[in-house]
């Protein structure tokens, strides 16, 4: 049973930094509820015999050797090349009033 409320949608929108109008919230509340119902159908076929998984591919322990990938390391100029604004080697971002997590 997953009832999606308008408050939840507004809260999620806030967390995702998306500005929504009241109309959009109402619309998305209905739509998200329908999506949740659709996904919940999975619950009907899940049995205790089926272990939960986050991966459809039966693979594990894919590791990288601890070696510097010289070809992958960028120069500072390359790193900031696509940035809207940079001071030559660092990214410039607008003042953030929040805090580090």
């Amino acid at each position: 049973m997953s009832e999606i409320t308008a408050e939840q949608v507004a809260h999620l929108a806030n967390l995702a930094r998306i500005a929504l109008t009241e109309d959009e919230i109402a619309h998305l509340t209905t739509e998200l509820g329908q999506i949740m119902q659709a996904v919940e159908k999975v619950g009907e076929v899940a049995t205790p015999d089926v272990a939960p998984t986050s991966h459809p591919i039966p693979m594990q322990n894919v590791f990288r050797a601890d070696v510097v990938g010289d070809d992958d390391v960028l120069t500072a100029e390359q790193a900031v090349a696509g940035a809207p604004e940079a001071d030559g080697s660092r990214f410039v971002v607008s003042a953030i009033l929040g805090e580090e997590q």
Binding site: L15, R17, S54, H55, I57, M59, Q60, N61, V62, F63, R64, A65, D66, V67, V68, G69, D72, V73, L74, T75, A76, A79, V80, G82, D87, S89, R90, F91, V92, V93, S94, A95, I96, L97, G98, E99, E100, Q101
Partner: protein, 505 residues
């Protein structure tokens, strides 16, 4: 920032029981980062680097880039988990912690959430006063560090009033292990000291494993301290605060103490504690309110779809377990008994943080007593005066050499101190300095006797007194001889010879 009202610490302890919980982040010193092949600035080899020169497309979250787990970081994490007495998860996975802040370019941090690599451990921690605690560990999980922001503009350079921020992603993706304790009860007035000693123990463990440089001043080791109070006799835990930005051992102790006093004042006044992050300010010795603590729900954790589960084999776990070094607390007990130090003597060494230096000096051939004397005495004094770390000033091998020169009678203590200053100044090994400066004790009696005869001849009154049996008068002659020998004589031998010469004729 208005300074909060504080209750007297002892009074606070009478009314309330402090409960603390500690989160320690350990930066691993692998060659490369957690999920990318960029050089790792938490490894000393890459510590000094220009901004954004230790980055790959993965560190910048560029489209199309994919993370791949560093196998060595996993091994280090398992070793650390085992050293913390934890069970290692047969299968663990990564999760995305979603938040918007430019210290990570992806808008999420790859961490572990519901399946950490290590859980349910216990660490033995010994306080400076000798009290021993078993600190319960809830979990240790792998994650990536975030980049560094420099706030520019505004009057203070702090976040408020900043006009813009500069972002360096060199640190983004550095492998981290976050170690989380369970609530720690029963420390009472020792709670601040326990917090400090715990972090110090984690540092010792990380260093002994060789998995981290573990330097707090570089941020290799960072601590967040949770503190709550509950009225005496109350079962329910009080509301906690989480103090961040505590970057030295001393600050950890002070920050916990401060929070106990601040919360006690509020609670005694009928107020309530706000669950929030607080920031420690080293300069004022106070904490200030930060953001209200987010619910874990707000991070919208979900399994990281780009990475596969980590399933360490039993063989790997046992291989790493077999390679674990001696636990710091057990090692201290062993060294204390091997060295034959009293409780006080050993505590002074342990508290000075020079246990490793002493052990290496003893291993290099010095007696434990001599090693202790030099490290906690003259070397500590020089380090203090120069405001340096004693450990870095002189090598244990040189201290052992110095002690041997004193032992063999080549140097007096006074000369040895001069030699030590030369070693600290980088003039070479003790023997080289003795040779270069000609500092060895003059053990040639002929040279001493010549100087003594001169001194006696120039002080006939003293000579007369000595012959009258007033032996204490010899001091003036001994002083003159030591001066003539520029201190390079053994005063006891000079005294013997003075009395011999004075009464010989």
């Amino acid at each position: 920032m208005a300074r909060a009202a504080l209750m007297d610490f002892d009074r606070a302890l009478e009314l309330f029981e402090p409960v603390i919980g500690l989160e320690v982040h350990v930066e691993l010193n692998t060659t490369t980062k957690m999920f990318s092949s960029a050089p790792n600035p938490a490894n000393s080899a890459f510590h000094i680097a220009e901004p954004n020169t230790l980055v790959t497309p993965v560190c910048l979250g560029l489209p199309g880039s994919l993370p791949v787990v560093n196998g060595e970081a996993v091994r280090s994490s398992i070793s650390l988990g085992l050293a913390l007495g934890c069970s290692i998860a047969p299968s663990s996975r990564f999760a995305r912690k979603n938040y918007f802040y430019p210290d990570l370019a992806k808008n999420y941090q790859i961490s572990q959430y519901d399946e950490p690599i290590a859980f349910d451990g216990e660490v033995e921690v010994e306080l400076e006063n000798g009290r021993v605690f078993q600190v319960p560990i809830e979990r240790a999980h792998m994650e990536e560090d975030a980049g560094k922001l420099t706030h520019v503009g505004g009057s203070t350079g702090r976040i408020q009033g900043a006009e813009y921020s500069l972002v360096d992603y060199n640190r983004a993706g550095v492998p981290l292990v976050e170690i989380v304790t369970r609530p720690i009860f029963g420390a009472e007035a020792d709670a601040p000291a326990l917090a400090r000693a715990y972090v110090s123990t984690i540092r010792d463990i990380a260093l002994s494993l060789g998995i981290s440089e573990a330097r707090m001043e570089r941020g290799n080791l960072r601590c967040d301290a949770n503190v709550s109070l509950r009225p005496r006799g109350q079962e329910k835990l009080g509301t906690r605060t989480e103090t961040k930005n505590v970057n030295s051992f001393r600050s950890i102790e002070r920050a916990v103490r401060y929070e106990i006093q601040r919360q006690a004042a509020i609670l005694a006044d009928g107020g309530t504690i706000t669950q929030e992050t607080r920031h420690w300010h080293e300069d004022t010795g106070a904490t200030s309110a930060g953001r209200p603590k987010s619910d874990a729900d707000d991070y919208r954790y979900f399994p990281e779809p780009d990475l596969l589960p980590v399933v360490p084999s039993a063989e790997l776990i046992e291989e790493l377990r077999a390679a674990l070094p001696e636990a710091p607390a057990a090692r201290r007990r062993r060294l204390k008994s091997e060295w034959g130090f009293s409780d006080d003597e050993f505590q002074i060494v342990a508290n000075s943080g020079m246990l490793n230096e002493l052990a290496e000096t003893v291993a290099a051939g010095a007696t434990p007593a001599a090693a202790r004397k030099w490290w906690t005495g003259e070397i500590a004094r020089l380090a203090n005066a120069a405001d340096r770390d004693a450990a870095g000033m002189v090598s244990p091998a040189h201290v052992a050499e110095l002690a041997a020169l004193v032992e063999s009678g080549t140097l007096t203590d006074r000369l040895a101190r001069q030699v030590l200053e030369g070693v600290v100044a980088g003039e070479g090994s003790p023997q080289q300095i003795v040779d270069a400066r000609g500092l060895a004790v003059v053990s040639d009696d002929g040279a001493l006797i010549a100087a003594i005869d001169d001194a006696l001849a120039s002080q006939p009154d003293v000579l007369a007194k000595i012959r009258d049996g007033k032996v204490q008068a010899a001091g003036a002659v001994i002083g003159a001889v030591m001066k003539a020998m520029q201190g390079k004589a053994d005063a006891a031998r000079v005294r013997e010879l003075v009395l011999e010469r004075a009464t010989a004729e």
